[in-house]
């Protein structure tokens, strides 16, 4: 009896789905002619969010429950009458037991992924969820697991930089990280593009240059950070200087006064609650750009090599200048790779830690004035205020998520696959 009631329901559902299909088709047509019907095609924001949740729920459901597709199909009545009943596969009557067996069987695939899922649960999902939950525990003690209650106290203090002494300032770290990332990643991607285009246009010694350019990738970032620091350093005291680093020596040739790039006396700008140690910024950004280059060159160079030469011939015939070819032809053709480098580069940059420690020591400059987001988190794990570390990592997660969302929105418009 219940089954029979189901059939018309299915039919109604199908009809609704059909209507949906028609609507989306109309929307597609509208997209082509935006000037004609922009007003009527726009659903309200609330409706949009509701639709989004409904489609998300449908997706989740379909991932877990694999139904036999046929059961959803309601055949037209005249067709059902023509086909002998025993050959109708759409409406198979099952006993409860058969239904249970069929469901279990359809879920048997989980057995195969179980080991991987178990490991991921232990080492990935649990820590993530735990961090999110623990961020709301007040005065959490990592050794005794005691806490005073739930609330937003951690977040409040982190954002207000009211976390006591011994750790980094959240706003300072956030600004530092954003500046390092948003300056160095686009800059090094641009440089990598120019270098790989140049590399692609030379024939002799191409492989040798490629090898040399890739060498920094094989080097440890802590060690390279320390080496970079000596380039910029001033050794000695403020009264008596023993020796300058190579950068100061070279700037001296142009009459520039030696700058204490990485030391305690490094020049700064004060901007309200935060300090901008601009000289240290320069060092950090130069290092980040330089260390980011090899991988980016490798990727862009191989992308360039796979571009069909005929596009360049066509551009030549069309009278395009070199810069037009680079920006109007080459760059768009490898835009998927550029976008990949920007997205992963920014994600990686937001998690920067070891290079800054290599350059400025484990206090990340003077009392964490060069601190990064990850450095912030570590500093609070070290001094036992784990709650701030949890809150900091949740905030870092949110920041990375927002930037990545912006990235994908931009690349949707700019990137052609």
């Amino acid at each position: 009896m219940a089954k029979k009631d189901n059939i018309p329901n299915d039919e109604v559902k199908n009809a609704a789905e059909l209507d949906d299909a028609v609507v989306t088709q109309d929307a597609a047509v509208d997209a082509d002619l935006p000037q004609e019907s922009a007003a009527e095609a726009k659903p309200s924001a609330g409706q949009k969010i509701k639709d989004w949740f409904v489609s998300l729920w449908d997706k989740i459901k379909s991932a877990f429950v694999s139904e036999r597709k046929n059961e959803q199909l309601a055949l037209p009545r005249e067709l059902v009458e023509k086909i002998p009943p025993e050959m109708l596969l759409t409406d198979v009557k099952l006993t409860k037991k058969e239904k249970v067996v069929r469901f279990l069987r359809s879920q048997s695939g989980w057995l195969f992924v179980l080991p991987a899922v178990l490991l991921m649960c232990i080492f990935t999902f649990y820590p993530i969820i735990n961090a999110f939950v623990s961020a709301f525990k007040e005065n959490y003690n990592a050794t005794t697991h005691r806490f005073d209650g739930w609330g937003f106290e951690n977040f409040k203090r982190v954002i207000m930089s009211d976390t006591g002494t011994g750790g980094a300032s959240f706003v300072q770290c956030l600004v530092n990280t954003l500046v390092f990332t948003l300056v160095s990643v686009p800059l090094s991607t641009l440089l990598a593009l120019l270098i790989s285009v140049a590399l692609n246009s030379i024939k002799p010694l191409q492989k040798a240059y490629q090898t040399v350019l890739f060498l920094p990738y094989l080097t440890n970032s802590l060690a390279m950070g320390a080496v970079f620091a000596t380039f910029f350093t001033i050794i000695g005291t403020s009264r008596h200087v023993d020796t300058y680093g190579i950068v100061n020596i070279m700037l001296g040739w142009f009459g520039v006064e030696p700058i204490d790039w990485v030391g305690i006396g490094s020049p700064t700008w004060e901007l309200g609650a935060i300090t901008i140690p601009w000289a240290k910024y320069v060092v950090a950004i130069v290092y980040e750009v330089w260390s980011g280059l090899p991988f980016k060159i490798l990727i862009l160079f191989s992308a360039l090599q796979s571009v069909n030469k005929q596009y360049y011939d066509a551009a030549k015939i069309d009278g395009a200048s070199r810069s037009t070819v680079l920006w109007k032809v080459t760059a768009p053709l490898i835009s998927p790779m550029i976008s990949y480098l920007l997205v992963t580069g920014i994600m990686g940059g937001m998690k920067q830690y070891s290079a800054i420690v290599g350059l400025f020591g484990d206090q990340m400059g003077f009392n964490y004035d060069m601190g990064t987001m990850v450095g912030y988190i570590y500093s609070y794990i070290e001094n036992g205020k784990t709650g701030y570390a949890f809150a900091g990592s949740v905030l870092l997660f949110i920041v990375i998520m927002i930037i990545t969302l912006i990235n994908t929105q931009i690349s949707k418009k700019r990137v052609t696959y």
Partner: protein
Amino acid sequence: MKISIEHLTKAFPSRNKKGDPVIAVNDMTIEIPSGKLVGLLGPSGCGKSTTLFMLSGLENPTAGRIMFDDEDVTTLAPERRGIGLVFQNYALYPHMTVEQNIMFPLTNMRVPKEEAKARALDAARLVQIEDLMARKPSELSGGQQQRVAIARALVKMPNVLLLDEPLSNLDARLRLQTREEIKRIQRETGITTVFVTHDQEEAMSICDIMVVMKLGIVQQIGEPQHIYDDPNNLFVANFLGTPPINVFKGKAEGGNVYIGSQAVMKKVKVPVKKLHEAEDGTVTEETTNEIISDQELYVGIRPEGFIYDEKGVLTLNVDHIEVMGRDKSVVCEHESSTKPTVRCILDSDVALPDSDKFSFNLKPNKVFLFNAETEERIL
């Protein structure tokens, strides 16, 4: 614009460094009259695309000269030659819309945007894609992409339009349609057009002038029908025509031409060139018809050159008969044939007896004689 090609030669270095260079185009001298549609025809590797790229300036010649009207363009950069080139794979920029693709050459020439848009629309109208201007190339069919490529080549109003295998990426029906389209566009614009193809049917159907090439050497230049009716050598005769010409080993003896033991032609007179010295010492070339001397020959007979006759001069073993509706083709075998089968095309209303041997008479203007060694045409 008239194109003169003089002694054009292109050599590529051989793969191993000590080897001889590969001669892709060998001492090519042709003249292309203004406003004509010219087809470079030949099997793959015959240097026809290389010739086209040298005309475009993308390849530099090793020797020779290219003249557009009276201007020597041999070493001129491609963008300064005033040419439009349509690539085999179209090479449309995938990230630009159709309109942006067509406008690209104009923006490089710094044409004001409004004018560029208007000219792009004109070019699009000419190839009938004005409805597709907002699409990306990936949203177009092969034929539409082809039209966009032609529009992009035409929009800068080139003096010469070059097409590299323009139809090879299209399906059979579209190919027929597009080749008529190319012919129409060429006629409407009056632009001197050179196109490259390996498909003799395509070349014959739309060319004003056809250039047949083999291994970098020009074999014959002329109107398609003329080349078909009067091929210079065995290669040209073989290359043109579907179904291809039937070639037999034969011999000339006592003025008669034999295939096997059958004399298919009697008292054959062939033109012989002779140098004639006049009394004042000027040497002129005279052609006289003389009875053919005894020699080994290739006898080429076009499939349509057979007339069914019970007392015909050539007897063939019938393998089977294919009925095509408009005509029928009798597929035969003969021991002297250089190909496995001999194909004779007859009118569909010719009544054929049920027999395994047919005799045919031959239409004289469909029979060619070639020297067995040089493969040059004798008659």
